[in-house]
Assembly symmetry: C2
């Protein structure tokens, strides 16, 4: 592995930087869910995080390490929504200007909130324009720092702090985690969490969960090399519409022995309805894929302790209602 | 006050009995909400409690103190839903039979879940039948113990454990609570929480929040004596359709200097939508009235620390969708 590979030490350093700036989200357990799967399920409710998703962790850990005149020149990021809010929040907290390049078709709530956090939003067309090119042009003009959404050691280490919290919270609940299910777009969340969990529980099995239409990590792990998704098929999981995972994240996932799981759109909305009814949590489609895989029986859970991440809750009312109505 | 008046000591004893049987629910803070009200708001997310509401606390504290042959003969309770689930859960945990008398028009989810917890459900017509008489008849036949839903020292002490948790959690957040907003049906929750909070913060101002159609506590506090609601007007807050508060709870609320606040049906659904969008929590109508009062500006919040309870999340999909659609 390269020197950019995520380490447990980097995750612990990130946790120190984040202390006092993020919320310790609860690790919940549901009597109904435990009974249903015949084991224990520990649910990390990261939808309750500031900005409504985990993305603030990586963003803050990255931005706080930009010093001197770099701070005044600010940052540029491209994101379908949650990373946008994470970067905007961290930039405001640190007094830095931020420009966010967002697809024009992103949920309105995510765009409104990014602007409400003080960031400048520049929109583009997912089908015809390159967000990387737009961001690079802005960064060049302003001498600003580009903040990638997943393939960056500091971003990965920041997201990994969720893993450290799970370790502490699970131990306090007398639970030894056998397996963890994590949603996967670019792989930053899973790489970071995986490193932290595996450092504490070396035998843990990690799963990357993807929507069927964006199963590049499943296919990449099967092929042993990175393969991309075809151009932007439709999915309700707007947060997971990533064309391919990163070089650093893919290497990390291979090293961690990650396995891939695919969930259907129907399984995703069913999981959102379960979270609504049993957990009393609002989970966005992309944030519900790990729960979807569990409920659909894609891993053996009997007598196992399974940890899973509900990674975000940024969903419009209309979309949420549509998902509840489509659920079984 | 009588010897049945709730005390901080009784609440602390209840907390010991409940330890390991209930969940420590998070005390959340929202950046958006703090900015909106110009102060700090600490949100006790009791909708994340086992059975989806706070009622398990009082029920368990009451049932665990039934010993000997009383345990085999079991319990009878009447409830519109949340107390039913709390009693059913506690009875199952203690191996006791439970009969729950429920209005026939209660949300289906609450009835299904009460049965799923192993309780026997007997239904009645809110408009024409007396639940007290039905419960008394069953209790007489079976020599079972009637578990009241609020006017009982052990029930009140159990609900009050939420107050102890708020004290610990707020102190850990460097917050000194100036005022607390609590939903009010029969007054058990507010009496218990109030005693615990006032024991720690003697100057705290407590508010009972009611739907306009069920404002008996507001009117009772104004009149200095208990007055009842007219027979069952319509409200979306099914959990707060109480005809009048209790003798013990009313005496406690007077002693605690509680003030009453009324919220409209529109303010309730607006609060549910706010909880959905900003807090990522599913809150049932009756559980959202305290937040509704805050958002509607019914108390001064500038530079104040306000604690409020989201007391439950047991709401059908259809009702939830209807509320979101009716919200501003």
């Amino acid at each position: 592995m390269t020197s950019s590979a995520p380490t447990a030490q980097a995750v612990r350093a990130a946790a120190k930087r984040l202390s006092g700036h993020i919320r310790l989200t609860p690790l919940l357990e549901s009597d109904a869910l435990n009974a249903r799967v015949g084991g224990r399920v520990l649910i990390k409710a990261e939808c309750l995080q500031r900005t409504g998703s985990f993305k603030i962790r990586g963003a803050y850990n990255r931005l706080v390490q930009i010093t001197g005149s770099g701070r005044e020149r600010g940052v540029v990021a491209y994101s379908s929504g949650n990373h946008a809010q994470g970067v905007a929040f961290a930039a405001r907290a640190l007094g830095m200007p931020a420009v966010i390049v967002m697809p024009a078709d992103v949920p309105q709530m995510k765009m409104d909130r990014t602007r409400a956090l003080g960031a400048e939003v520049v929109t583009y067309d997912r089908a015809t324009q390159s967000r990387e090119a737009i961001a690079a042009e802005i960064a060049w003009q302003r001498e600003a720092t580009i903040v990638p959404s997943f393939d960056d050691p500091d971003i990965i280490a920041g997201q990994g702090t969720i893993g450290l919290e799970i370790v502490d919270q699970a131990e306090a609940m007398d639970a030894h985690v056998d397996q963890a299910l994590v949603c996967c777009g670019g792989g930053g969340l899973l790489s970071g969490i995986g490193v932290a969990l595996k450092d504490h529980w070396p035998k843990i099995q990690l799963y990357a969960v993807e929507p069927e239409a964006y199963d590049d990590v499943c296919r990449s792990l099967e092929a042993g090399k990175r393969v991309a998704n075809p151009n932007f098929p439709a999915t309700v999981c707007d947060a997971l519409q990533t064309q391919e995972c990163g070089e650093i994240t893919f290497a990390a996932m291979k090293e961690l022995g990650v396995r891939g799981l695919r969930v259907s759109e129907q399984e995703v909305v069913n999981a959102m309805a379960f979270a609504f009814e049993d957990l009393k949590l609002v989970v966005e489609p992309g944030g519900a894929v790990a729960l979807a895989a569990l409920l659909a029986g894609k891993v053996a859970t009997k007598d196992q302790v399974t940890a899973l991440i509900l990674s975000g809750g940024n969903v419009d009312r209309q979309t949420f209602v549509r998902c509840l109505e489509a659920a079984a």
